[in-house]
Symmetry: C2
Subunit: 138 residues, 2 copies
């Protein structure tokens, strides 16, 4: 069996927010506001014009940002009450408080966060699995 190297090239936060308010997930301004806050709070730098797409109802919105630090992607699913985020950073960044922020801005009932170290073998992703709960049941 091949030996996997320990070369880490960055960290990725893989975030699922569930039980969100559908009207907020349909509102591109709200979703863009969340992404802008992530970028601002973590001092990330957007390199090219961001990409946005609004899907026809009952669909949500998608946003993609190409960053100096790698990328940020967001998809919303109003029909499921779900918003997902991927934040991939090739330089060390503080932890963002996903649970608190997404509960406040999108009405999320539960926020699950997985952090994966990239380039170090997918096993590291599983090793570093963490789970956070935000908001509690309503």
């Amino acid at each position: 069996m091949a030996i996997t190297s320990n070369t880490t090239v960055g960290a990725e936060w893989i975030v699922d927010a569930e039980g969100c308010q559908p009207d907020l997930l349909r509102d591109a301004r709200v979703v863009r506001g969340v992404c802008d806050k992530i970028i601002s709070d973590l001092s990330l730098q957007v390199l090219t014009p961001e990409l946005w797409h609004e899907f026809p109802p009952p669909g949500g919105v998608t946003g993609l940002f190409l960053l100096t630090e790698s990328h940020l992607a967001c998809h919303t699913y109003p029909e499921n009450g779900v918003a997902t985020f991927n934040l991939y950073c090739c330089r060390s960044r503080p932890e963002w408080n996903w649970a608190e922020q997404l509960t406040r801005t999108l009405g999320a009932r539960h926020v699950n966060v997985m952090r994966a170290e990239r380039g170090a073998g997918a096993s590291k992703a599983a090793d570093q699995f963490i789970r956070m709960h935000g908001g509690g049941d309503r």
Copy 2:
């Protein structure tokens, strides 16, 4: 403790290719060719102009595609011999042979693939962890 729902909104393949040939990772045409093949082989639809950025040496390239099916992201790190991919699909797609393809096109020695079910709680990501080895030691 809040109960996490089982709402799945898509699957994501989180792929790290290690031990790649640095000159191939620096070549935007080569990297773009890999992304184009993923999109073509899986019949994915690109919705907006793709985003590409070439970082100054010793950096690599970044590509982002906003898809009808969600998104594809690629980053290369010639200085580390690493290429990473995220393919996020909100409709069922066949498995792509990441190990074989990235060994052939980028000279990868090892290819690690993790599949995460999105929107179903990050625990599913860990549950569905799979690891694939490609190429073997040289």
